[in-house]
């Protein structure tokens, strides 16, 4: 087996081990719906984490995604309240998210600024804009949104998925295609491996770097739409700290934070692992919610140490 697949394999095995643990320990855990719920409850996280994967693969980071999600739910709710066509509202927020991401990418690329600081400022900006729209939660009673939110697509075995979960799966599939068999995807890996060598190879580093943040802004907005389906409200405190969950999912999914190595498919499992931790804690009933954070922190530690081990053994490229 290729050494590059090792982190991904560990992630998948860990997920299976946790599922097995749950199945043995708790009654009713091993039902298809429990596992589909992992996807349903974390659909927005999954969408965002896929965008984050590209950013991290390119060696950057995007801290603004949680705030962009909140802003998306806010703008959607405000537009629907003003009587907009739901699909026009969705198109507008997607365009806004992509533009927001592209602007951050432009600042990072053109002025050689640190992604951490630029997206941090972007996070302040997007959260602040939420508050400018309203400090209260805005409910959504649009018929189309409610219909999408309540729609259940049966997948057999008495279980079903939501539209949000389907969007998440579609995004994972599309992103895998982009990452592994498109010029853009290959350039992202090359930039993460070494920006100057990618430039010397004649790859379009500048536009790809902006593109990565544009993509992350777009997936954040799409994640926001999925969250709007899930919550049916716009609120400036939606998705606080979601950027950390997304980064954690990417790292647990086996992507190196130094960039250049990782798989979108791993991110899907990273998200599922975060989800299954919460489900296990919910099934247990006696553990409090803060154990989630501690376990996620411990897993992050484990994976980072594994990555260091893994990096240490790979012969260094000159």
């Amino acid at each position: 087996m290729s050494r590059r697949l090792l982190p991904l394999t560990i992630t998948v095995l860990l997920f299976l081990a946790m599922a097995a643990f749950g199945a043995v320990r708790y009654d009713g855990f091993l039902s298809p719906q429990v596992f589909l719920n992992l996807l349903i409850d974390n659909a927005f996280l999954c969408v965002v984490a896929v965008g984050m994967t590209f950013v991290i693969l390119s060696g950057g980071i995007d801290l603004s995604v949680g705030a962009v999600i909140a802003l998306t739910t806010m703008i959607s709710a405000a537009l629907l309240k003003a009587g907009w066509n739901p699909f026009a509202a969705m198109a507008l927020v997607l365009a806004l998210g992509a533009a927001f991401g592209a602007l951050q990418g432009f600042l990072i690329q053109r002025f050689n600024l640190a992604p951490f600081i630029v997206t941090l400022a972007g996070m302040f900006m997007a959260r602040g804009c939420c508050y400018l729209i309203s400090t209260e939660s805005i409910p959504i009673d649009d018929a189309t949104y409610s219909a999408i939110a309540q729609a259940r697509i049966p997948v057999g075995f008495d279980s079903s998925l939501t539209i949000g979960a389907l969007i998440a799966l579609a995004i994972v599939a599309i992103a895998m295609r982009i990452a592994h068999s498109s010029e853009f995807g290959r350039t992202v890996y090359a930039i993460g491996g070494g920006e100057s060598s990618a430039r010397l190879m004649g790859l379009s580093v500048d536009s790809t770097k902006i593109g990565v943040y544009l993509l992350s802004g777009f997936t954040a907005a799409l994640g926001g739409i999925v969250m709007t389906f899930y919550m049916l409200s716009g609120y400036s405190l939606h998705a606080v700290g979601l950027e950390l969950d997304a980064i954690a999912a990417v790292v647990i999914g086996g992507t190196l934070l130094s960039g250049g190595v990782g798989y979108v498919f791993g991110t899907l499992f990273g998200v599922l692992i975060l989800g299954i931790i919460q489900t296990l804690i919910a099934f247990d009933g006696s553990l409090s919610s803060w154990w989630t954070r501690i376990v996620v922190g411990a897993l992050l530690l484990l994976f980072c140490l594994l990555q260091r081990l893994f990096e240490g053994r790979t012969p260094k490229m000159p």
Partner: protein, 341 residues
């Protein structure tokens, strides 16, 4: 004049001065100080007092950034220190109606600071020994830290009843707030340690070029470890001030987003995020800029939520001004404009 403009502290100081002038325009009594009940009162004193925890955390952050690091766990460490102190002091009413501390106050303070320093040491070990990227290494504690703090409190807000503890965040010494004294003392100690010993030079050399520093015989890893430990300790001090000020410890909200404000203060103060050059005094000014801005927005009657947008605009502006590429473009534009006219 030219030397003045090129001084690293010139722009931060100008920004702060402009903010203070703007504040005094909006509020005519802004700059007045009054002496009442043996204390100095006034908006400026209030800003200094409120800025104290941020100043303390930012001082630690400056050094971490100077050695090419970053510590995003300080908010969580603030919460942990606050919770440890609050749990150890607590306060129960004795038969005589006097409030007693569960453990002696000094023991509680030392334990809280020790735990905070241990958190910093942990971050340092992950960075130095395990070779992790600083963002990742401290991300772990940032995620888990609040969980640990909540575990300690059982998810409750711990109220402190023991009055002597309140002095840290609410007391006055020689007419000035105690928190202000603590921040000033920490700054002075650090300033002396960095200028009177070789420590400042070592930190600059590690941040400037770790490899060259190592070859030159600087013990980079132990200094980096110390710097992270100090950053944790500083966060602990801030945690004590914060919890003493509100007379309670909230594991969920104490120090929330403080790491971002601290990094912002360091950046505003003219310390480059790439490491090497740092401005301790600049950081203090940066923290004061943030607090003045916050107070100004509050006193103007603008919804406090706007604060975030203003902060974001400020960060973008400062970032661009610090970027050589942006300066280059502006310079070219200015030259082009001169040629046209």
């Amino acid at each position: 004049m030219k030397r003045l403009i090129h001084h690293a502290l010139f722009w931060p100081a100008i920004t702060l001065a402009l903010l203070l002038i703007a504040s005094s325009l909006f509020n005519s009594s802004f700059l007045t100080l009054a002496w009442r009940d043996g204390h100095l009162y006034g908006s400026v004193i209030d800003i200094l007092n409120r800025a104290a925890p941020l100043v303390v955390v930012s001082l630690g952050m400056t050094l971490v950034i100077a050695v090419r690091g970053l510590d995003i766990s300080v908010g969580a460490v603030v919460a942990i220190a606050a919770v440890v102190a609050a749990l150890m002091i607590g306060g129960s009413f004795s038969a005589t109606g006097e409030v007693q501390s569960r453990y002696p106050l000094w023991l509680a303070l030392i334990t809280a600071l020790g735990v905070a320093a241990a958190c910093g040491l942990w971050n340092g070990l992950l960075v130095v020994k395990a070779g992790m990227q600083p963002i990742v290494a401290t991300l772990i504690l940032m995620v888990a830290g609040r969980g640990i703090a909540q575990l300690l409190t059982g998810g409750q807000i711990i109220t402190v009843y023991y009055a002597p503890y309140f002095a840290l965040g609410n007391g006055f010494l020689l007419g000035l707030p105690v928190a202000l004294w603590i921040a000033a003392l920490l700054w002075l100690t650090l300033h002396l340690a960095l200028t009177r010993t070789a420590l400042g030079l070592f930190i600059r050399s590690i941040g400037g070029n770790p490899e060259a520093a190592r070859v030159a015989g600087v013990r980079g890893s132990s200094i980096t470890l110390c710097v992270y430990t100090f950053c944790g300790f500083a966060a602990g001090v801030a945690g004590l001030i914060v919890s003493s000020n509100v007379k309670s410890a909230d594991a969920n909200n104490a120090g929330q987003l403080l790491e971002l404000d601290a990094i912002l203060a360091v950046t505003l103060g003219g310390t480059a995020l790439t490491g090497g050059r740092f401005q301790l005094a600049g950081t203090v000014i940066g923290a004061l800029i943030i607090q003045t801005l916050t107070s100004m927005i509050y006193s103007m009657g603008v919804p406090p939520e706007v604060n975030l947008v203003v902060k974001a605009a400020l960060v973008f502006a400062v970032m661009l001004l610090q970027s050589p590429e942006f300066r280059g473009i502006v310079a070219r534009l200015a030259r082009g404009g001169a040629r046209v006219s």
